[in-house]
Symmetry: C2
């Protein structure tokens, strides 16, 4: 399919969490319907989707029926089993493409891809056993972080190594999984570029946002980020190079470290990204609609921002602040409809209006 999807078409979304939920709402704005696939019953996206399938990613029959009912498939997370992707792709296009998923599902592959493109990352080395780890520590230096190559999310599957004595425990924490040792980078700031590439190859980027983390989870993103014009340009060029190299279609979140030596790629996420939620209230076309436009073969929005915004995540019992936040006229609430507030669980976010766009 290379023709733009007509309104009325159905978009399949793998994963029914908050990202799928906000994608479904954006798709509806363009006249599309969404069919959400999620192993868990009552996914948040189900409240605002036309159809929901509840089945595991191992159920190829359910996946085939899902694929047959939709006109294109996208996803809200990158760790989708290969067999599931095969079952779907036999019937309908998956966007962003399989190559991107293969690259981003594995921290080692991702970092290798980024460095092969001539872009910088933190120093890294593959670690499969204690011999590898000893060599990697010697090469990279300490402190460093040992991470599983796959399935890492919000600080899980990670162990910090401050001194050589920490190595055995860190390796044990990997539970036998292939790992990667990453060196620390002396960075002044973390920023994100939310970039999009359309079916015909055009690229559009939103203004970079400044990210602040707490306990390993994104806490706030603020636009505009305090950057020089050169840094802004670098960020956009860098994102464009990543998207083009992957023949990417959709929105990608690119986390970058700002260092005295330039921008380093921390992580790429082949999907809408938490650090792009500010676009919902700062732009006419937000990241969710931008992603839907891209995978539907529609023209992209140009990423224009009309307002300065600070996004703040509501994590765990932050949800108790909702009554107070609802009283703040500068705040737009975005709650995810999750029944239970567990520590570390993203329950919603707020976008705070700071003023008309201070940087054009």
């Amino acid at each position: 399919m290379t023709e733009p999807l007509a309104p009325g078409a159905t978009i399949g979304i793998l994963g029914g969490g908050q990202l799928g939920r906000m994608l479904s709402v954006a798709a509806a704005r363009l006249g599309f319907r969404c069919h959400v696939y999620d192993p868990a019953p009552e996914p948040p996206a189900g409240h605002v989707a036309d159809r929901v399938t509840t089945a595991p990613y191992e159920d190829t029959e359910a996946l085939a029926a899902f694929a047959a009912s939709v006109d294109v498939v996208t996803y809200e997370f990158e760790n989708i089993p290969t067999a599931a992707l095969n079952a779907i792709e036999a019937q309908v296009a998956i966007r962003p493409n399989r190559r991107t998923l293969a690259v981003s599902q594995d921290r080692l592959t991702e970092k290798a891809f980024v460095t092969e493109l001539g872009l910088k990352t933190a120093p890294f080395a593959a670690v499969d056993d204690e011999v590898d780890l000893a060599e990697a520590m010697a090469e990279i230096g300490l402190p460093a972080i040992l991470k599983t190559r796959r399935l890492g999310y919000d600080g899980k599957g990670q162990a910090r190594i401050n001194r050589p004595e920490d190595a055995p425990a860190a390796l044990a924490a990997m539970d036998g999984a292939p790992a990667i040792l990453e060196g620390f980078v002396s960075f002044t700031r973390e920023i994100s570029v939310i970039a999009a590439r359309g079916l015909t190859g055009e690229v559009a980027c939103y203004d970079p946002g400044l990210n602040v983390h707490r306990d390993g989870i994104l806490h706030t993103t603020r636009v505009p980020a305090p950057l020089t014009t050169a840094q802004r340009t670098d960020a956009v060029l860098l994102a464009g190079r990543l998207l083009n190299a992957l023949d990417y279609v959709g929105v990608m979140g690119v986390e970058l470290f700002v260092t005295p030596d330039g921008l380093l790629v921390n992580e790429i996420a082949p999907r809408v990204h938490n650090s792009g939620h500010w676009t919902q209230d700062g732009c006419m076309i937000d990241q969710f609609e931008q992603h839907i436009r891209a995978i539907a073969g529609w023209p992209l929005g140009d990423g224009a921002r009309h307002s300065d915004i600070e996004m703040e995540n509501l994590i765990g019992d932050d949800i108790d602040r909702v009554p107070a936040l609802a009283r703040d006229p500068a705040v737009a609430l975005h709650l995810y409809g999750k029944a239970e507030a567990r520590p570390g669980r993203k329950m919603g976010h707020v976008n705070r209006w700071l003023g008309p766009a201070s940087l054009k």
Copy 2:
């Protein structure tokens, strides 16, 4: 129920058209689920609602089951049969209240209510037969418009009387229904105030918008409307008086004529209103969320506007302009997911960003 509804509660919406659709999305942003009730299968709101009941408004059993499944009921149109309202209200609160529906379902009752409040309307008189009509024409003068008292919508059930000879045909067009003759008003502009009143009686208004009609259907609404400060104040005070007098809870659309003698009330709509769609892209809290906040007992947004916007309806084959509109970076598309584009049918709207709010 006077306690605020907690996120996770379910809101019942009578009517699954575009207004129900946009209400459902706004409710989801606050963590609510929606259950939509509509006689027609596949209502547009169903694509983004948690649950849909397809049943006629005469099916009291279906209505009772619907009412039992929700925590509060609201509606997207005012011509709901009394028996249906009775079946629902036996179980759960209806907001805005029954009194408002009774007033607004009937053009005569509505105009009588407005004038009793000391507000101005176009001259009007009840017309049940040709004797009434002759008297009304003598009193009001010609040209004038004869309208059925109930069920009028977008120019239907109306007949213009330019000369006395037009009277029999106009009366015949009423098909025996009780009618009202309305005189013409010499007005310079039509504006709308989208006003809201909360469960605890607080009132909030959005900036008035300038409405332009085409073929009897709203074509564009633009904010800010070109008004004097005094006119702005009058519009807000007048809307507040209407809401307070009705002990109203929710969003109301108030259409006003700007005349040399001051503001005249053209029509009130006890619901979110087409002329308030600009708030989706001009405000942090739009009219749909404002309505959900009100009926859920939440604090209202203050109506603050961050941008100047022109809303334009996409009617009938205007939908063919979507590919071109999708290329305009200043335009936000809002399509309703309707399969068939019939002449006069509202298929969607666009909000065009004109700049940061030029009037505070």
